[in-house]
């Protein structure tokens, strides 16, 4: 049953292939362009929220179906552990970095691969930030390791409902968000037309 163990050349190739799919998806969604990513934060371009939320819902549903059919062992699929303190603070910093710099780590690599110099400067900054983090984290080690630590903790456990019910809920929230994004853009389009 999936997932599988890989070694040697096959290990290298399967990960290169997954990465290539990831790179194509980001590039074709327009995320090699900092202006499109920044546009999400000025509500001039809502591609980021559409692509991210669609990807999360599709991957979530396929994973749950594959597990329900007995093809995929969910116990061997990686789930990020929950550290509310460092996760929320780090997330806020990442969001600030995206508005200041126009990329996140993955999209800056795509931008650099398509020869965008702003992407290259962002990557240079990433290395500085990462090394700086490694240097200063001993000063707040306890916060990093313990603040809001919940271990492997998923939305279904938090809500006290099944994974299937949680998936329906997440899908409904996503569809509502898409409806909101489409409605907002239509309204703005009409307003701009009226102004012309």
């Amino acid at each position: 049953m999936a997932p599988f163990e890989w070694s040697g050349v096959a290990f290298f190739l399967v990960n290169v292939l997954i990465g290539a799919g990831f790179g194509v998806a980001l590039e074709r969604s327009g995320f090699g362009d900092s202006r499109r990513i920044a546009g999400q934060f000025y509500l001039t371009d809502l591609t980021v929220v559409r692509v991210m939320f669609t990807a999360i819902v599709v991957a979530m549903l396929l994973t749950l179906w594959a597990s329900a059919l007995g093809w995929l062992d969910l116990d061997r699929v990686w789930i990020d552990e929950t550290y509310l303190g460092s996760g929320i603070l780090g997330g806020a910093l990442l969001g600030i970095g995206m508005v200041v710099g126009g990329y996140c780590p993955g999209t800056s690599l795509v931008a650099t691969s398509t020869l965008k110099l702003d992407g290259l400067f962002f990557i240079a900054g990433l290395f500085v930030g990462i090394v700086a983090f490694g240097e200063v984290v001993p000063k707040f080690w306890e916060f990093f390791q313990q603040a809001g630590f919940r271990g492997t903790y998923t939305l279904d456990q938090w809500l006290g409902i099944s994974k299937g019910e949680t998936a329906v809920l997440v899908t409904a929230v996503a569809l509502f968000t898409f409806w909101g994004a489409d409605t907002y853009e239509a309204a703005r389009g009409n307003r701009d037309k009226a102004r012309d």
Partner: protein, 172 residues
């Protein structure tokens, strides 16, 4: 799936692009048991370089030392190689591979480079603090319903919207 591309820029419809990205993420879970990632790979590359230049310093650091043995022997390194190859190939086929600086209409090239570098520092620090970035936390943890990853994602959007007004001249 046949992606819709508009003739002038060959970008995919965001819902189809998202579905394709979701399928790739599922393929990662199914084939390997891990999701996607990016910032962890950059951290490993940084650790590999520091290992050569200042090995004693790496060994004594509580954070860096867990990267000190064979930092590049990890799935995220070939994954990043793939991201670069996929990004380049896709951009090349769409005619988007050319040396340029993407910026808002009212900012100089030099200022854009400075802000890109500064944003990279903040994002790099934040991603390591959060143990992942948009790929390893928001997408991977989002799809596996991890509470911390959803909190991360909401915090990232909140952080971005909180400062967007201050940086409006960089983009608008």
């Amino acid at each position: 799936m046949r992606p819709v591309s508009s003739p002038e820029n060959r970008l995919w419809n965001p819902y189809l692009g998202g579905a394709f990205l979701g399928f790739v993420l599922f393929a990662a879970f199914f084939l390997t048991g891990h999701g996607l990632g990016a910032s962890g790979g950059f951290a490993r590359i940084a650790a590999a370089v520091m290992n050569v230049v200042i090995p004693d310093h790496v060994r004594l650091s509580p954070y860096l030392s867990h990267y000190s043995t064979a930092p590049l022997q990890h799935w995220i390194i070939p994954l990043l190689v793939g991201v670069a190859l996929g990004g380049f190939t896709s951009g090349k086929l769409a005619g988007r591979c050319r040396v340029e600086t993407l910026r808002g209409p009212n900012i100089s090239v030099g200022a854009r480079w400075t802000l890109a570098f500064a944003g990279g520092i903040i994002a790099g620090f934040g991603a390591r603090l959060a143990r992942g970035c948009t790929s390893g936390q928001a997408l991977t943890g989002g799809a596996t319903l991890a509470v911390g990853s959803w909190a991360f994602m909401l915090a990232a959007f909140a952080g971005g919207y909180a400062v967007a007004w201050l940086f409006r001249k960089a983009w608008n």
